[in-house]
């Protein structure tokens, strides 16, 4: 029985079972718990009310990202409620002995950017956070998923979670990806294919030659948006790319421990012949840069396409959803994507705010100017990303082109701080959700890659980035 070929997911799951019994949810051990200011206050309050402690503060890390201002950090924070939430996090972490990368920390940043950056994210680990994009960390061959606040409290108190075992879904992307087609386009194409509920109940493992060829940053972009496909977790087997990324990072194992860790990590990938509950294969060579036209990430089309006609949708539900989406987005069926003008451009979020993303965008904007109608901003994913980008002069390239260069945080990805769209404003965004009102009430979001967003900022409308390369 134990020799049966296993998927990577099964191996990691089995290694973390504390108790499994018929008719019960599995008690699963959690190696890393990431905490941020928005989904944690009620969990800490629950602990206090019950007189409980944090079981493993040493496996818990906190940062602030969702709510933080992205303007000058030396200025006072004007939003009193947001400030209270940040102060509450610091107070809670102090009380319970949890390390916190606060606003003044050189390590502060979006929780899913700093985990990997600091080497906290490692293959084989179970990683949770009160945020759905925790799936990002699966890029390292970890089992990582978002949880609600009650579960945050549960992990704080027990370092475990009660889990029902999900099913497994293998998505293979084979072939060579054409120039101008990014990891963002791959994942948008996948979501466009399976729909935003296509992965519900599954953990997705991404495999195939096109996935293997991706850098860690690109793998994170793919796994990040697993949740937009409905899956709680996405994962990619660790390999040399993974190890090279991790080696030497602050929390990565060192010396002899590194060697031992490598041995464990190398045993993780899915065994040949292991069975998944579902399969899908995509040909990377057929992909093109993608642009969402609607109000969920599955409403997406290639840049050479047109805004679709709702009457051609296969089901009644989809037709109604498309009609509503087009009305909200202010778009007419048949409009070429490249004719859609943009007012705002947002380069940031845990999907696309790492150094590689900023480099790619900077290459497009270098020596050019942002279109006069467009207001564009870059929000690096973390302090480290920001510093590294500045050391390379990326900030100058962006600023000279007319971009705003901001402090790290979630910013306009969800618009909890003052970075929001005005009603009717249309935004090319490198984030992950184009829901109604996500970036501000009445705001219209089109999800694209960093390169496509940068080009839209210059042209004032969407362009096929392949024409610029």
């Amino acid at each position: 029985m134990s020799d049966r070929p296993k998927t990577m997911f099964e191996k990691i799951w089995e290694r973390h079972v504390v108790r499994e019994a018929p008719g019960e949810a599995t008690i699963l051990y959690i190696d890393v718990h990431l905490v941020h200011e928005v989904t944690s206050p009620q969990a800490f309050e629950g602990l206090r009310l019950a007189g409980r402690r944090v079981r493993r503060p040493d496996k818990t890390f906190a940062t602030m990202d969702h709510n933080v201002p992205t303007t000058d950090r030396s200025l006072p924070i004007l939003d009193a409620i947001a400030l209270k939430q940040m102060e509450t996090l610091v107070r809670n972490c102090r009380e319970f002995g949890i390390p916190v990368f606060d606003l003044n920390s050189p390590d502060q940043g979006i929780v899913h950017v700093i985990g990997p950056e600091l080497g906290i994210t490692q293959p084989g680990r179970t990683i949770v956070c009160g945020d759905s994009h925790t799936s990002t960390h699966g890029a390292f061959g970890a089992l990582a998923f978002g949880i609600g606040t009650s579960e945050v409290e549960h992990v704080l108190a027990t370092q475990c979670l009660l889990q029902l075992k999900p099913k497994t879904f293998e998505i293979r992307v084979e072939g060579e990806r054409p120039k101008g087609v990014t990891a963002k386009d791959i994942i948008l194409a996948i979501i466009g294919t399976i729909g935003t509920a296509g992965g519900t109940g599954y953990v997705i493992e991404y495999a195939g030659s096109a996935i293997r060829a991706l850098s860690m940053e690109e793998r994170m972009t793919i796994c990040n948006m697993s949740i937009e496909a409905g899956a709680r977790a996405g994962m990619i087997a660790p390999d040399e790319t993974t190890y090279a990324f991790l080696e030497g990072r602050r929390y990565a194992p060192k010396g002899k421990d590194w060697e031992k860790a490598l041995e464990i990590w190398q045993s993780l990938p899915t065994d040949p012949g292991a069975k998944f509950d579902r399969y899908l294969e995509l040909d990377a060579s057929q992909l093109e840069p993608m642009v969402t036209w609607g109000t969920n990430p599955g409403q997406v089309v290639g840049v050479t396409g047109v805004v679709p006609d709702p009457s051609e949708m296969p089901t009644e539900d989809e037709r109604k959803a498309a009609e509503r989406a087009l009305e909200y987005m202010g778009l007419e069926p048949g409009t070429p994507i490249t004719d859609i003008p943009v007012d705002r451009v947002f380069l940031g979020s845990c999907t696309n705010s790492r150094l590689a993303d900023l480099r790619a965008a900077a290459r497009i904007v270098a020596g050019k100017k942002v279109h006069p109608r467009v207001r564009a901003m870059v929000v690096p994913g973390s302090q480290h990303v920001k510093k590294a980008a500045e050391a390379e002069g990326l900030d100058k390239i962006f600023k000279e082109a007319g971009f705003e260069w901001r402090e790290p945080g979630c910013s306009m990805c969800l618009g909890m701080n003052e970075d929001i769209l005005q009603p009717g404003e249309r935004c090319a965004s490198t984030s992950n959700r184009n829901f109604e009102g996500r970036q501000g009430r009445g705001g219209r979001t089109h999800l694209v890659s960093p390169e496509m967003a940068a080009a839209a900022a210059i042209a004032g409308h969407f362009v096929d980035i392949r024409d610029w390369l």
Binding site: I27, Y29, E45, S150, G230, D317
Partner: protein, 199 residues
């Protein structure tokens, strides 16, 4: 957590697919540090016009649905973020059960943790229930968790599936943390092994 056993209540029909958590509770209301008081912000951008007055066209603002405690809606309800503020807002507003053809995973999980029962019924049955609600003012349903059925006023029963552990927890209003801590010794034993590993 408030247990869930048998609930009878007025049904409100929300005829939209893929209702996401940003619609259920927009982010500007996530800054509170309490669990309560979110009901007033439920579906905020749909319930209220930009000037802050209620939008009479939105279903929850219609007089016939006041006091509804069962929400009837379409597929993939609750997609998007992990914010538990979404079920908190639904519960605080007064919803105890949500009926839909399907739910997003994290949202569904969050419902169970808060004593809200997510009921999955066939799309065709959901369709039929929508017709019934629209056609009959004051339409009520009974959601019977022990029996795992939704019962129409005329006695028609629709069976739904629910994981037996989740059912047990809901019926008993069980505190998950207390349950897990019964196995503290297992956790400690696991940790002793785990902590010896380099990663």
């Amino acid at each position: 957590m408030q247990p869930f056993t048998v609930h009878r209540g007025l049904v409100a029909p929300l005829d939209r697919v893929n209702v996401d958590t940003d619609q259920i509770i927009p982010k500007q209301f996530l800054k509170r540090i309490e669990r309560t008081g979110f009901g007033q912000f439920l579906f905020y951008d749909w319930r209220y016009r930009p000037d802050g007055t209620p939008d009479p066209d939105f279903v929850l603002n219609q007089p016939r649905y006041q006091g509804a405690s069962i929400l009837l809606t379409r597929a993939n309800f609750g997609s998007g973020s992990s914010r538990e503020h979404a079920p908190w807002a639904l519960l605080d507003y007064g919803f105890r059960a949500i009926i839909a053809p399907s739910f997003a995973d994290i949202f569904k999980n969050n419902c169970y943790k808060n004593g809200i029962l997510p009921v999955e019924l066939d799309a065709a049955i959901v369709d039929h229930l929508f017709q019934e609600v629209w056609n009959h003012e004051g339409y009520e349903l009974t959601v019977d968790l022990p029996e795992q059925v939704v019962i129409e006023p005329n006695g028609t029963r629709h069976r739904f599936e629910v994981n037996e552990f989740r059912k047990y927890c809901l019926l008993n209003g069980l505190d998950d943390i207390g349950w897990t801590l019964q196995f503290e010794d297992l956790i400690a034993a696991y940790e002793a092994e785990r902590d010896a590993l380099p990663t």
